[in-house]
């Protein structure tokens, strides 16, 4: 770690990503520059296909950049690391393992049986699944499955948690519960979060900053700070103002038309 930027955890510099589909190059990410500070909660919002998941996968080390670089603690990211956890849209739990075993699978350092059990129990309590230790994933609701998935990622106490539309498949009410859970976990664990979502409200409700991405190729269009105290009120004027600002980024032309007809 360098002394000058020691509070910067993730840094993305002039990053480009090109996929080859059917032999033709398709630019997915263009000129991405981004800094994420220690302990920050960043939301990345964009339409589907804008490359936001690809950006997250590059930070995770699951994909490599075509040009430019992604740094984690000032080191170039070349492969996945246990210091950086990822929660996917689908819970990706192993159907043959019960809740406890799934969470214990996440543990990557070698520990004795008792410690393992203590850690998994702590995680089960943290995500509010006490009593479901022996349940198989298929016996759980979608929200509960996602809690297990988050717990499995948290057992390694990662400095950075990447969330790829983690609540995208949940119903509206469960989603709101899970967002509050996530904030609670973030406060308790004090790790850095990068959340990718297509839900503008979710991005504002959770993030310290909302990064708005444009489509084809994926570029950072705007970075909107959300300086509102938590817990945030989704119907407050300030919240609505930020929402309007982000909506404008996406639907500028439509908004014009409405005004014209008024």
């Amino acid at each position: 770690m360098s002394g000058i930027q020691d509070d910067v955890l993730v840094k993305i510099e002039d990053l480009y990503k090109v996929f080859h589909i059917d032999g033709k190059p398709v630019e997915v990410l263009e000129d991405i520059n981004l800094e994420v500070k220690q302990g920050e909660f960043i939301s990345i919002v964009g339409a589907s296909g804008c490359g936001k998941s690809t950006l997250l996968r590059i930070i995770a080390g699951l994909e490599t950049a075509t040009k430019g670089k992604a740094l984690f603690e000032n080191n170039v990211i070349t492969k996945p690391s246990i210091h950086c956890g990822m929660v996917f849209q689908e819970s990706r739990l192993f159907p043959w393992l019960n809740v406890r075993k799934n969470i214990e699978f996440g543990l990557s350092r070698r520990v004795d049986k008792q410690t393992k059990r203590d850690i998994s129990q702590q995680m089960i309590d943290l995500v509010g699944l006490a009593g479901f230790e022996k349940a198989l994933p298929r016996q759980l609701s979608g929200g509960m499955q996602q809690r297990v998935s988050i717990a499995r990622t948290l057992v390694n106490n990662p400095k950075l948690l990447l969330l790829d539309e983690p609540f995208g498949a949940l119903d509206a009410i469960t989603k709101i519960h899970m967002q509050n859970e996530l904030l609670r976990i973030w406060k308790a664990e004090k790790n850095t979060m990068i959340l990718v979502t297509h839900d503008i409200d979710e991005a504002i409700y959770l993030g310290d900053k909302v990064i708005v991405m444009s489509n084809k190729p994926g570029k950072i269009r705007n970075v909107i700070p959300v300086d509102l105290p938590r817990p945030r009120d989704r119907s407050s004027i300030d919240f609505m103002n930020i929402r309007r600002l982000i909506y404008k980024e996406f639907f500028e032309e439509t908004e014009y038309k409405i005004e014209y007809y008024l």
Binding site: C84, F88, F94
Partner: protein, 259 residues
Amino acid sequence: MNRLKNQNITTNDILNWTILVGVPAVFLISWQVLGDRDIINGSVLPTPYKIIDTLRQSIESGSLQKHFYASIVRVLLGFAAGAAAGVIAGFLTGLFEKVNKAVAVIFGVLRPIPMIGLVPLFILWFGIGEKSKIVLIAVGTFWSVLLNTEHGIQNTDYKYLEVARMLEKSKFTTLAKIIFPASIPSIFTGLRLGLSAAWRCLVAAEMLASTKGVGYMISYARELAQPSLMFVGLLTIGFVGIIIDVLITKLQLKLIKWT
């Protein structure tokens, strides 16, 4: 409401059972009646009663037990050897592309050869005794188990493998904790198909060169012009096949609780 629901299920059940038992019963009765009236020639197709009588006689004389025992030992030994080899080979070809390439042509040429065509060769190599029959059954089992194991491994969801990558799991852990459990359902499919292949090979081997076994019993019955004994042999194979298949399915349900 509850009663109504129950009643519905019961009527439906009765209908299903009637069809399940009734159709074969009507079939058997007509068969018996047609045989009794000499409309069906008894020396070509014996009546159900005649077959049951032959079954009783062969059990009383102990000959069915003797043949059955010889057959089941061969099937179980051959199946066990073939299945073990198939699972191991399937893991190797499924996991290592180089191994897969190395054996692709050899396996590709050998696999389509019908097992019955190998009987003379195996007799030449392994003699007329038990060994040639067990090897034939093993080879027959091997192909189904191999293909399904390989398929199961190659079709492990990449999403699970990504989870392992994110957690920096070793190759061995990934294999033991993810790839292996994920391919168990496929392996079981291979075992079931392998078992029916094992029975087919058994009958082929015993009919061509043997002095005991259910297959031998069938071809011996032809020499004696005893069609009812043939049916006893055929039905024995059919029933034992069904019983073993049910047992494997039960084991599968017990082992794979997650599907």
